[in-house]
């Protein structure tokens, strides 16, 4: 099928995009204006006429939002950074290996060549990889509007529900600040999908901080497709004493998935997949942290 007609506006700067979004919200509260970034979610919906926006503000040409900045403890990513860049850029991969792994699991190369970080976060699909990676990294999302100016939203507070964020209609997601991987921290990302490129049926991401003696100092872990949004499931109280074994990860994964209420046809099956993904991701993260420590020693 073909998309329904819409009015097209091409923004030449962030300020112009904000003006366009603000003006349309002001002009007609019922008219439906959408931002067009990579189009990899929006066009599928429009081609199937599941979405019929009245107006699109195309931000695809805003080179300023394609940039990345490396700070000492964090990396700042523009809203238009492509999934493929996150996946393959060696410098970003070194600072944010979990994000690179997550991005590499999205769709196919041609989708990753177009899809953007800001688009994925704004789309807020509960099965999407990048919103989970941002949640586990405790990223901070920067949004901006012509009327209310700039504000930041913690990744934890960004998703309201399935396909719904806490952004206002006239707000634009501009930048994302992601704390980078720290020494002693290992990452894990595991997802299960029926075929390569499909959205995941279940998936887990985690950062495990390991002390030089091999004990676990901290864990932050989350799940995708387990609820109406990505979820943090690790509970800081659940310390791991001593050197963890395979059973440690199995036990934690079982504990942290026990109360899940997935919105799927077969919640038991999804819970089981979440548990398996989480246990594997935790074990991977610990192993990576130890390997890094051994290499550094």
């Amino acid at each position: 099928m073909k998309p329904a007609p819409f009015a097209y506006l091409r923004a030449r700067s962030v300020a112009e995009a904000l003006e366009m979004l603000g003006a349309s919200a002001h002009r007609d509260a019922d008219a439906h204006t959408k931002v067009l970034a990579g189009g990899q979610s929006l066009l599928t919906l429009m081609n199937l006429r599941l979405a019929r926006p009245d107006q699109l503000v195309d931000i695809g040409g805003l080179m300023e939002l394609s940039r990345t900045f490396e700070d000492t403890d964090s990396v700042v990513l523009g809203a238009l950074v492509r999934h493929r860049t996150l996946e393959t850029d060696p410098k970003l991969g070194k600072r944010l290996p979990l994000v690179a792994a997550a991005a590499g699991q999205i769709g196919h190369v041609a989708i990753r060549n177009r899809g953007t970080l800001g688009g994925s976060l704004s789309h807020a699909d509960p099965a999407a990889e990048l919103p989970l990676a941002m949640l586990v990294h405790e990223a901070v999302i920067h949004v901006e509007s012509a009327t209310s100016g700039r504000r930041t939203i913690r990744a934890e507070d960004f998703v309201e529900s399935i396909f719904t964020t806490t952004m206002q209609a006239d707000e634009l997601l501009t930048w994302v600040t992601v704390p980078s991987a720290r020494p002693g921290q290992g990452w894990g990302f595991v997802e299960f999908a029926p075929r390569i490129g499909d959205y995941a049926q279940a998936g887990a991401a985690c950062l495990v901080t390991v002390a030089p003696d091999g004990s676990v100092a901290a864990i932050r872990a989350g799940l995708l497709a387990a609820a109406d949004r990505p979820l943090v499931v690790s509970e800081p109280g659940d310390e791991v004493s001593g050197i963890p074994t395979h059973e440690t990860w199995e036990r934690l994964a079982a504990h942290w998935t026990r109360n899940l209420e997935p919105l799927t046809d077969d919640p038991d099956h999804t819970r089981h997949l979440c548990r398996a993904a989480l246990s594997q991701a935790l074990a991977d993260a610990y192993r990576r942290a130890r390997t890094d420590q051994e290499e550094a020693a």
């Binding site: 007609p5 009015a7 097209y8 002009r27 066009l43 009245d54 190369v109 041609a110 390569i196 490129g197």
Partner: protein, 176 residues
Amino acid sequence: MTVEDAFSPLAQRVPLATTVNGRPVTLAVPARLTLADLLRDELHLTGTHLGCEHGVCGACTVLVDGRSVRSCLLFAVQVEGRSVVTVEGLQDHPTTGRIKCAMARHHGLQCGFCTPGMLVTATELIDRHPPEKPLDEACVRETMSGNICRCTGYQGIVRAVLEAAADPATGTTHEG
């Protein structure tokens, strides 16, 4: 004033200046025209095929600024100022030539509907793969999995891409 008053979306034609297969193209297009429909219906480049029109089959894959994209998931107006290369534009590209010869040898196509998308995806894969790391079967399968073929069962396609990647000399001696 409503959006409808400001501009009638049905009537809105957006000026577009882009490059397709090395040739400059300047015209006015409806905003909702996809790149695939621009290529096929306006420019008569019918090598780009449309299967699903929602991003899953890969038949419509073309290169924009040297990167593979789904032309069904791009509005024509989004390629303003960019360079589009379709399967027709890869006619004389050596990598694509090698893949075509290898596809013929390994029975990598039957009806041929998926083939243009396969050629574009495989060309990007081989051209952009770091030369120090030979392409293995797992990587070829993973990349080509974004292109659906209803006929061949993929074995011949995978073999052809691996052969074209491994040996730049083969194939150039055969006619594509």
